[in-house]
Subunit: 131 residues, 2 copies
């Protein structure tokens, strides 16, 4: 069963965005993490069993930095939990979706992979196998 | 407590998008609904307690039709459940967020309101008071 894990929003000012999503919109801040290898600092917000992640780039030449330069602030990707990452990737590929990069370890040590938005109607999809 | 209700994806071809999100990505189709007053046909997908909604416009001069012309396919808005819509709107406005249109009835008869993306870091936010 595929279930929504989080949606991630690229922002220019992490502290300001955390204030909006907690004080103005009522989500709860659950923690923050810096992933230097992804070039991103993340604030995790609880939204009732799923998370909203706010992403601030660590520099212009990172994936989130390039996204912000090209598209501006907004939703960067949507992540789903799957039971078996390799089986989920094989099924997606069989139906014409293209991986974006190779499977790797993401936040909290989970195995993750991305699918290119061209196959999923404009949405960059992350698949996560909970470890 | 604010909790994620759904995320909505604007698509050009509802049947094709339903096939991708069910067959390739493993979500379950829960139903479809046409809202002529919003100019949209919606497919509801279950994703583990939250929903993914696929939105197909009923014409170019609808909100989703204009979004598709301007931005292409992709995430259109994110919806959160709140306990009290009027209190949530008042809190958001106090902190500088702007309503987009007036509160009204949305899918399934719930009272809903939208907040302009300029205040929420590029994300069109829908607030829903479950009826």
């Amino acid at each position: 069963m595929t279930r929504l894990a989080h949606l991630a929003i690229a922002v220019r000012d992490l502290a300001g965005a955390v204030r909006v999503y907690t004080e103005a919109l009522g989500l709860s801040l659950a923690g923050e993490e810096t992933l230097p290898e992804e070039g991103v600092r993340i604030a995790f917000l609880e939204a009732g069993g799923v998370r909203v992640e706010l992403l601030e780039s660590l520099g212009p030449e990172t994936p989130v930095g390039r996204f912000l330069a090209r598209r501006g602030e907004g939703i960067h990707h949507v992540a789903f939990y799957v039971d078996d990452l390799d089986a989920a990737l094989a099924r997606a590929r069989e139906r014409g979706l293209q991986p974006a990069g190779s499977p790797r370890r993401g936040a909290e040590g989970h195995r993750i992979a991305f699918l290119h938005p061209s196959g999923s109607h404009g949405v960059l999809v992350e698949l996560i196998q909970a470890s």
